[in-house]
């Protein structure tokens, strides 16, 4: 019995144990690690990733594996934000989010309705939008020329109370809202059921299509917000601004203890996964590890952690009978 509760504990708070471990490791590595600025830096460094991952987590949570169209959504959103800035701040925000909603809804509708494999469909969408951007804008950098550019720049630069970046606030708020939404609301619980078994969900009268569309819209919006922040940081838009983000987000989601089959894990766990990535990168740079060795370490840590979580859940299942 005792063993079981211990395993349950690991299953639930596994990521936070990694975070704790990394925090201790960090303290040992450098005396500057535990300074307030460094901790804020770590949060700041993963804030965009965190926003993106919380959206991706919705898709994973309801059993749709991963959304590979996010890099293109990020790029599209960054172009939309730069181009619509001249109409003012709020129209710009609206249009940027709308672009995310549209792409997400398209993904969700097709995948939910026709049961196409998510990886293939989102990859194809990624091709199409990446191609489209480059057909229209070429490979040039687009800079904001009209509108309130200074305010636009501030989106990624503004610090609440002078030291907490806006991106971090948005990430934490988004995760808190999503966590409560998923764990407390009626629709949120339907996410879990769809993630566990679409069949059962369907027969218990849940509109599966609606839930799937919602999850992809969530992912689209998250990607669009990420795109907005990236555009604001670079004060420009370019076709390659989302490159590589999809797999980083997947890594964070998986580290959180979510399984790609869906139904397991929580958004709070994603926060832990994102934190773990941020801490790991920070510690490795503080150690002065070469960029390529960082990849090697990340790969090993990733596999070991996933194997360990997997092992405990399997053990737990066995104990439960």
């Amino acid at each position: 019995m005792k063993k079981k509760s211990g395993l349950e504990y690991i299953g639930k708070f596994g990521t936070y144990m990694i975070v704790l471990f990394l925090l201790i490791a960090g303290c040992l590595v450098s005396d500057k690690f535990l300074s307030l600025t460094n901790l804020v830096n770590i949060l700041d460094a993963v804030s965009y990733l965190g926003i993106l991952a919380s959206g991706m987590a919705l898709v994973t949570y309801c059993g749709q594996s991963v959304d590979l169209s996010t890099p293109s959504t990020i790029a599209v959103a960054s172009f939309v934000s730069i181009l619509t800035l001249k109409f003012g701040m709020f129209p710009m925000l609206f249009c940027t989010l709308a672009s995310g909603v549209l792409i997400g809804a398209l993904n969700g509708l097709v995948i939910g309705k026709f049961r196409i494999n998510t990886v293939v469909w989102t990859l194809a969408m990624s091709f199409v939008f990446a191609g489209l951007i480059r057909v229209v804008f070429g490979s040039a950098n687009i800079y904001p020329k009209e509108g309130n550019v200074e305010l636009f720049e501030q989106i990624s630069r503004y610090r609440v109370f002078g030291f907490i970046p806006l991106g971090v606030i948005v990430m934490v708020l988004l995760m808190a809202v999503l966590h409560i939404f998923i764990s407390r609301s009626r629709i949120g619980r339907q996410f879990k059921l769809v993630g566990c078994s679409e069949e059962v969900a369907k027969y218990s009268g849940i509109n599966v299509l609606k839930i799937i569309v919602l999850s992809f819209v969530g992912s689209g919006i998250a990607a669009a917000v990420t795109g907005l922040f990236i555009a604001s940081l670079s004060i420009s838009a370019c076709y390659n601004y989302g490159t590589g983000y999809e797999f980083r987000a997947i890594t964070a989601v998986v580290l959180s203890g979510m399984v790609l089959d869906g139904g397991r894990g929580s958004i709070a766990g994603v926060f832990g996964g994102v934190l773990a990535i941020g801490l790991l990168n920070n510690i490795m740079t503080l150690l002065g590890l070469n960029s390529f060795l960082q990849n090697v370490v990340t790969g090993i840590v990733f596999i070991v952690i996933v194997w360990f979580t997997n092992y405990t859940t399997k053990k737990l299942e066995a104990l439960n009978g």
Binding site: N41, L233, G244, Y245, N282, L286
Partner: protein, 411 residues
Amino acid sequence: MKRRWISIITASVLAVSMLAGCGGQQTADTAENAAEESAGEVSETEESGEDNLTKSKAIDWQSATDNAGNPLFIDTLIPEAPERPEDPDALPETDELHWYDFEYPYAQVEKLEQPESPADGCIGKKIILLSNGDHPYHTAYVEATQQACEIFGMEVEVMSANWDANIQTQQVDQAINEHPDLIIYKPVDQETSVTHLRKMYDAGIPVIGSNVMPSNEGFQYLLSFCGPADWDQSKLMAEYMAEQAGYEGGYCVITHNPGGSAYYARAYGVITKLAEIAPDMVCLDIQSPGTDSAENVKQVVSDWITKYGDELKVIFTSETTVQATGSIEACEAAGRSDILIGGIDNSEIALNYIQEGKLTCGTNQPPMQDGALPVLLAAKWFNGEEIDDYVFMAPAVINADNVEDYLPAQW
């Protein structure tokens, strides 16, 4: 079982018919081509050969300007390579000569026999530009190539490999297949270029290398090479930054994408120069966060600031869009306006930052002039003039004092 048979038969029939069809086509093609070519040659030499050459030579290219009104064809320099050390690898990485084979691949090359210039004028010649990929810099580059070709009355077609060596291999073959009069080749990869250049050489098509230096082995196949003096500009930047920093303090380097020639030139050009002129400056760290995400760069620089604190005085970036932005943001966030940041190239972002005083310096590597240069060489070659084995664009440092001269930005 039946299905399987059918599918295999369909497949093989398809393949066979495809091959057979092509075989027939080819013989017909070559025959036709031969006939056309001989006919064309006769008429050309008799009627317009001399005429075309005089016309071509009379073209006024010196007065051509880019979109900012600067001369399209700029001054070039031909650097002199020092003596090659016995074993460069045995020298320390901070020694300039350790990188001898990277910096001077054009030295000690015994060129293979190059195709003879037709010497009948550049007008009407067909050029294929094998571009390495899409990037704001290369967009401006290609525009200039097209503009320059128009000036010289040449026809240019562009194939872009999107940074993919496999696609460039295919495009090299396709370009050979179209029998252009000359190929301008921007390699995706320094070393992989050798096989490509060898193929084009064997096909008897003259090739002018551009933008990215091929390796030593590749230079023997080249008619000529022109491009930015990458090592020189990073050394020039290092000199300027060292002066600004008072020849002391620690510095960090952000590299370009791994694998390209810029990866070495822009990082180790700085490191070797500083080791030479400012021995008190210490290289604290070198990292490769890539050129795609300002966020990644920002994270690395933030970590550096945490780790090295006041030791860190100077940051060198290999690129000025993503990397300069990330570095500047990290320094601002940490309130470290005392850190000097120097970047290579002259994007619009860089020039804005220099004006605002956020970036200490950039370097002048104008894409339009870069793209126009190989066309000039090609035209000269078609006109039967001597061209150099390699020429480089003279680099320059852009700082707050002279930034006005470089506006508006080309990309």
